[in-house]
Assembly symmetry: C2
Homo-oligomer: 279 residues x 2
């Protein structure tokens, strides 16, 4: 698939930029630090796999692409799929590293924007009578957030709902760790966990709080037609007051060791609660 | 448990060091970079939880401890457990950050050393007639290595065996991610994967290679009395030639998405193969 002479259409479609000072590259400057400040619904997606997910999902707009020159030939399909009014900038490795503020191994960056986020209620209204939902309370680590979304996609959870204290799944690192799942699995983030639980109960969901002290083994839980799996922060877990109101489940494991990482726990629980448990 | 005036015994046990230039602190200098070069069986352990695991396991020696002064009072139990000939250095936050080369949030570092590592055969010889072993082929990411050990500890796998192309579980980050499990679960690393498999088969182990293309669903696998779970690199998975010789298992999941992270996959498979599967 090597192609040292890019096609004419490709050369006409892209915009070559010579150095890192060009103002059109401003959205890509110091992406690592900028991610920590207000992003107005925008996010940075990295790599070909994530770009494919982004291109496939109409809930997101692409504002521009930045591609290192030696990756161009391998990205013709993606470039063809990109709407004609989206600028595609092409630069040298030196320039992309200078802009990004660190060595960019993947050579592809996109600025995306989430359009019309749904409220928790509106998202639940889109679900089928049979549904599996992941609910997150206070997940503050972007690696865990990304991994949980990856697991939600692998086991075909219908959506993820997060409380206001959870971190942003569209943070660059969360997107990367999720292999694009945060751009694939529908999600809503809104308000306190108690309000989310009430909304789910009103919609006929049976909720299971996952906790090392949970009453039922996850191996014995019978999923309902509409099931929600609740996960809390790794340090504190779900608030005790919440656990008292809900059915609770535990993953049987050694009493001799620190509990599982919350992302791994989500994978194990989803493998038991999803339709794949019986396959 | 606050204690602004450390006991006399504590003050006599520790060695206060005023600045970062002191030669006794040399093993702790730039731990982040040094980890990448030869370490002669030594490793850096961080934090109280990991220190507890290190103190409990006679397979490891502690060469010295470095503690930030405001953590002293909370570490009396650990200091009491530390052999009398192990130096315990105490420094200010400014000094520890200057030595480590980055802000040390945990305030506790230990230099440990692994004593008399076992060969694969010798490690297998220590196992009971009923055993669950994790075998790793080409796991090169320290986060994955640490997470797999954490899962092995959670589901009480008896040991981990790694081929020569896998990374070092005593790398600082692997120890940290494992929450000390790489200092708890016995392991051996030696030679090519083919030799490891042969040794396990000779010892009566039934081996299951985990792969998205595996023949049997992990939900249907019947563990043998001696079971070994084989995991390959995330990118390539286990070599096809190897999979052809072995029983293979898959985790049923969406065909529509990139496969699970290898660490998450290890957790799901171990939850099915361990004695906890029936609890």
């Amino acid at each position: 698939m090597s192609d040292d002479n890019p096609d004419v259409w490709l050369e006409q479609r892209i915009t070559r930029i010579a150095g890192p000072e060009d103002e059109r590259l401003a959205p890509y400057r110091n992406v690592r630090e900028r991610d920590l400040v207000g992003r107005e619904g925008r996010f940075i997606a990295e790599g070909k796999v994530v770009l494919n997910v982004l291109l496939a999902n109409r809930s997101f707009a692409i504002e521009s692409l930045l591609i290192i020159e030696n990756r161009l030939a391998g990205l013709k399909d993606q470039i063809r799929l990109c709407p004609a009014d989206v600028p595609i900038y092409c630069v040298s490795r030196t320039t992309i590293d200078a802009i990004a503020g660190f060595p960019m191994h993947r050579g592809i960056l996109a600025v995306g924007r989430r359009m019309n986020p749904l409220s928790v209620q509106a998202l639940i209204d889109t679900l089928s009578p049979t549904a599996l939902v992941v609910v997150l309370c206070g997940i503050s680590n972007h690696d865990n957030m990304g991994s949980i979304f990856r697991n939600a996609a692998a086991f075909e959870a219908d959506c993820v709902i997060m409380d206001e204290t959870s971190c942003d799944p569209l943070y660059r690192k969360a997107i990367r760790v999720s292999v694009g799942a945060t751009l694939k699995v529908p999600f809503a983030q809104q308000g306190p966990i108690e309000a989310i639980i009430e909304t789910l109960q009103d919609a006929g969901f049976t909720l299971f709080g996952l906790s090392p002290s949970g009453l039922t083994s996850i191996n014995s839980v019978q999923p309902a037609q509409r099931t929600a799996l609740l996960l809390g922060t790794e340090g504190e877990g779900l608030p005790p007051a919440l656990l008292q109101q809900l059915q609770t489940a535990r993953i049987p494991m050694s009493s001799d060791f620190d509990s599982l990482n919350v992302a791994t726990a989500s994978g194990i629980a989803l493998s038991r609660l999803s339709r794949f448990a019986s396959l």
